[in-house]
């Protein structure tokens, strides 16, 4: 049998085979390296423009300047990273457990407000237990972020207890309605939260262990700070989802009754997934206020829940990194529309209308999301190749047989 020869014909050599191979095996590594060096790419661009201008290459400098308008800035990348994490936290529910929560802005917002209030509290100091302030003043940011996770975990557990009496579309409705209590509370207790103006003036955030100052003063440092946390959290989510617990989540999504009959307490599993998702959303919410040094009240409004649903479905709810892709597309498009496109066509200033319209089209025509669709292509392409190979092998086998006879 001459299988060795026939194998050659099917080594990947056309473009798509190559693309899918790279995409599957090295996609994550390429993405990671790209993100790791991103701030240097962006600042390198600015430096080249300055250098070109200094050396009187006006035309090239101008061209590069125009190009720079289409490159996402480092602060935008911070936003993209944070919403990737938020989306992956949200996807623990939607993609893995099959629960559509439309109230995740609550935990995102609570995380942000917790960090903001803790920061203000450390700055002021409390006269009652000065030793607490003294101790934690050494690690203000670390302690605040951990508090943000804990507080949003508590709130998502509470809301989860109430909302999980409902399933399917009712669950979506109830989570949305319940999430708005946080918004109204933020409005009502405006002494504490700043009301509709949001909580501002959170300058001088400092990380004790590395003695780093993060915030609007230094985008690059903030970027790396966020990047490290997002990568760590992503790794944790990845581990959880591939653990036996993750399997059970997907069993609940596929058929809750069957999972229950297998002896799993599905109500508890749903609540756990909800709390986990909520606390990670709280982490994302806490990170989201660091660069801006303020908590806008929109963070806790259901507009933000809408954003994360859109981001997740853009990328693909069934895929682990789907929300990351969705986050990039969403923020990048939004940025382009409001800064570049709007120069040529005024109706691009109404970006919500565009995003909402595109979202409806995605739900109707690309329900798998972008990454999910690419994954399907990969699968289809490989299946096709595999079948071709089987056919070819049986052909050549019969050919050899007829030769022998």
């Amino acid at each position: 049998m001459s299988n060795g020869n026939t194998g050659n014909r099917f080594t990947p050599k056309d473009f798509w085979a190559w693309f899918f191979e790279v995409f599957d095996s090295y996609g994550v590594i390429i993405l990671g390296v790209f993100l790791l060096i991103y701030p240097f790419i962006f600042s390198g661009l600015l430096e080249s423009i300055i250098w070109l201008e200094d050396n009187d290459y006006e035309g090239m400098a101008e061209a590069l300047q125009t190009f720079r308008g289409f490159v996402p800035s480092t602060p935008l990348m911070i936003q993209i990273l944070i919403f990737s994490l938020f989306g992956m936290a949200f996807n623990i529910l939607l993609g893995n457990t099959g629960m559509l929560s439309l109230g995740h802005s609550a935990y995102f917002g609570v995380g942000g407000y917790t960090l903001g209030l803790m920061h203000a509290w450390f700055k002021k100091g409390t006269p009652v237990y000065p030793w607490i302030t003294d101790t934690f003043k050494l690690f203000p940011l670390e302690f605040s972020i951990i508090s943000a996770i804990i507080v949003s975990a508590v709130f998502s557990w509470l809301i989860g207890m109430i909302a999980s009496t409902k399933r399917g579309v009712y669950f979506a409705m109830v989570t949305l309605a319940l999430s708005m209590v946080f918004y109204y509370a933020a409005q009502t207790f405006d002494d504490l939260t700043g009301g509709t103006d949001g909580l501002g003036g959170l300058a001088n955030m400092r990380m004790g262990t590395l003695n780093l100052r993060v915030g609007i003063m230094d985008a690059t440092i903030t970027y790396y700070f966020v990047f490290v946390i997002v990568v760590a959290a992503t790794a944790i989510i990845w581990q959880i989802l591939r653990s036996p617990y993750g399997q059970v989540l997907r069993a609940v999504r596929e058929n809750e009754n069957r999972a229950r009959n297998c002896g799993y307490d599905t109500a508890k599993i749903r609540l756990m997934a909800f709390t986990l998702s909520g606390s990670l959303a709280g982490l994302a919410g806490a990170l989201s206020i660091i660069y801006g040094e303020s908590v806008p009240i929109e963070n806790i409004h259901f507009i933000t829940s809408g954003q994360i649903v859109i981001i997740t479905l853009f990328g693909g709810a069934g895929v682990f990194l789907g929300p990351a892709v969705g986050s990039f597309i969403y923020w990048y498009l939004r940025q382009l529309m409001s800064t570049e496109f709007v120069k040529y066509l005024a109706i691009f200033q109404y970006w919500e209308a565009w995003v909402g319209g595109i979202f409806i089209l995605i739900v109707l025509f690309v329900p798998q999301g972008i990454l999910g669709t690419i994954n399907n292509w990969t699968l289809n392409y490989r299946t096709k190749r595999y079948i071709e190979r089987l056919e070819h092998e049986s052909e050549s086998a019969s050919a050899t047989e007829s030769e022998e006879s």
Partner: protein
């Protein structure tokens, strides 16, 4: 220290305002509930359709008719025209967008997502056409009088009109659902869609009309509320949430649930600020976090507390029955 206490006139005034607010809740919750009962879709776009109805009313009344025939006729014309326009818009949206998902894997989720997408799309779309700031919409002059005035208790003619019209509409919807053939088909479809088809009735047509009906009700409520507040692209946000609370409290899929639920939530919404003026609160809690100032603004929060209690104690709501108009 201020003294507490609520006099009768003040109490009656809030009771009346609660009835007005409740009327809007009833109209919106009925539409939401009928659509859900028949099609299994929770219309997250209900709030923005209400907002769109208000803008349609504004356009018909203030921009087209008022310059020629004056504000009174213009308002009546808007009341008549907007439900028809919104009925058409609802049917078109059902036909070209929602009907595409009926045979997909997860139709109910897709229904939520599409209507949710619409609730993001429409406010900005409205800004694109009518401009960013809200538009004022005055109470038509023919309603500029009070039916009753005792001290601070003032029953304005327009608010009375709102309550009356809402009551008439509730009776009409009841008549439609329980005394007409279309209503019989809608109720039958709520119980079992497939068998309605087996009997030779084209369900898709009924679905389309029902969706249009729900949207028409929302749009009508939008026109009715415009003279009380301004017309604004975000006016649908809060009321959508409140409508959800109404159907959770009243119960989905029944006729009486949204009506009673709407009236209860309306009263809660209006009476909460009075709690802060009672002797008890003023004397014991002034200056604290739950002092009189808190209760002035606590309506929205209290509604959520009530909803949470209902969800824990009666997950189906007060009158909820699994898919039936009882």
């Amino acid at each position: 220290m201020p003294t507490g206490g609520v006099d009768l006139a003040e109490f009656l005034q809030h009771l009346f305002l609660g009835l007005v607010q409740g009327s809007f809740y009833v109209l919106l919750a009925l539409g939401l509930s009928i659509i859900f009962g028949l099609m299994g879709i929770i219309n997250f776009g209900h709030g923005v359709f209400y907002m769109l109805g208000a803008y349609m009313g504004f356009t018909v009344a203030n921009l087209i008719i008022a310059p020629i025939f004056g504000p009174n006729i213009a308002f009546v014309a808007a009341l008549a025209a907007v439900p028809a326009i919104m009925f058409g818009i609802g049917m078109v949206f059902e036909k070209y967008v929602i009907s595409r998902i009926y045979n997909t894997d997860n139709a109910r989720f897709s229904g939520v997502l599409i209507t949710f997408g619409l609730s993001i799309f429409l406010p900005d779309f409205v800004r694109m056409i009518w401009g960013r700031p809200g538009r004022p919409f005055n109470i038509p002059p023919m309603f500029n009088f009070s039916i009753l005035e005792i001290g601070t208790f003032n029953v304005s003619a327009y608010r009375t009109f709102v309550v009356l019209v809402a009551a008439i509409l509730v009776v009409l919807i009841w008549f439609l659902l329980f005394r007409t053939n279309l209503g019989m088909v809608i109720r039958a479809g709520t119980s079992n869609n497939i068998m309605v088809q087996v009997l030779g009735i084209n369900v898709t047509k009924v679905w389309r009309q029902t969706f249009g009906l729900g949207i028409a009700l929302a749009g009508f409520a939008g026109v009715m509320i415009s003279p009380l507040f301004a017309v604004d692209p975000t006016m649908g946000d809060d009321i959508l949430i409140q409508t959800f609370i109404v159907v959770v409290v009243g119960g989905m899929g029944s006729f009486i649930g949204p009506v009673i639920g709407g009236l209860i939530i309306g009263q809660l919404w209006a009476l909460t600020p009075l709690i802060g003026r009672t002797v008890f609160i003023v004397e014991n809690f002034s200056g604290t976090m739950i002092g009189p100032d808190f209760w002035e603004k606590a309506s929205d929060i209290l509604l959520f507390v009530v909803m949470s209690l209902i969800l824990i104690l009666r997950p189906r709501g007060l009158f909820g029955q699994e898919g039936a108009f009882d």
